[in-house]
């Protein structure tokens, strides 16, 4: 501990007096709370940008991938293939990816 002579008491009092007053407390608390509610703006922008770019690039490749797939002629996969063209499947995958980003981005690390 620090010493406890008269000078120490004066020094502590001086530090105490140098602290900002309670009158500014509300404004400060508001600022901190505002930052707390949106602390990840930068992260959302960066991850969102990276995710969107990646999704767009992947999306351009998906259609050719689905075109090359040998679809089964019976079973539930065949039923899906009957109604879903490669474009629809590519769109579905993209929607899933976007949904994933929308789910993950608001969460804190």
């Amino acid at each position: 501990m620090t010493m406890n002579d008269a000078f120490d008491e004066r020094l502590r009092a001086a530090f105490q007096a140098a602290q900002p007053g309670e009158d500014q407390a509300d404004a400060f608390v508001k600022k901190v709370k505002a930052k707390m509610s949106s602390p990840m703006k930068k992260r959302v922008v960066i991850l969102g940008g990276a995710g969107s770019t990646g999704s767009a690039i992947a999306g351009t490749q998906l259609e050719s991938i689905f075109n090359a797939v040998q679809l089964p002629t019976e079973g539930w996969m065949a039923s899906i293939a009957t109604f879903a063209s490669p474009e629809v499947m590519a769109t579905s995958v993209l929607a899933l990816m976007i949904g994933g980003f929308a789910f993950i981005l608001p969460k804190r690390i």
Binding site: T2, F7, L11, F15, Q19, P20, V29, V32, K35, P39
Partner: protein, 179 residues
């Protein structure tokens, strides 16, 4: 009855309650803002650093073990935030030099013994001495807590506090004699 700091921390950890944390901010904002102002010697920078320190505390509040006081834990986080900000300005030493050049002279002098400005007195200390003095006298940390917060050996902290204290005492006595 008013909830203790520890009870509020438990509430924040359990429920991420912003209002409970807001109450902790309200209780300790003066301490942390004052500490940052004394360390950085720049009021605008100190306000930003204090806000960042509370945000960091909110993010790390689960790591508060309750073995020491919440105040000391918060001061330690604030000190680390100050150091990180200084490192962002390349090297800590250069940053401290930069801060030295940015003393906020617009601030009204505050009296100690009706004469002297505490910030000007602190400006006469070396960086480590000022850090040790601020942590011990402003935050109320013990020498051991200050040593743990800064990573300095206990003996070094004691030396810095004693040397800093003597310099401040000499500064105030000289100023009062002149006045």
């Amino acid at each position: 009855m008013q909830a203790s700091d520890e009870e509020l921390v438990a509430l924040v950890v359990a429920t991420q309650d912003n209002n409970a944390f807001g109450e902790l901010v309200r209780r300790h904002q003066g301490l942390i803002r004052g500490m940052m102002a004394r360390m950085s010697r720049n009021r605008a920078l100190a306000e930003d650093l204090a806000q960042d320190a509370f945000i960091r505390a909110f993010q790390k509040i689960g790591s508060f073990s309750g073995t020491g006081s919440f105040k000391s834990w918060l001061c330690k986080i604030a000190y680390n935030e100050f150091l990180m900000a200084a490192r962002k300005r390349k090297a800590t030493d250069k940053a401290m030099e930069k801060f030295k050049g940015e003393v906020d002279d617009t601030e009204m002098p505050r009296d100690m013994g009706n004469v002297v400005d505490l910030d000007r007195a602190l400006a006469t200390l070396k960086d480590d001495e000022r850090t040790a003095v601020v942590l011990c006298y402003s935050c109320g940390m013990s020498h051991s807590e200050a040593a743990e917060a800064t990573g300095m050996p206990l003996g070094t902290v004691k030396s810095h506090v004693n040397r800093g204290r003597e310099k401040l005492k000499a500064f105030f006595e000289t100023a009062e004699a002149v006045a």
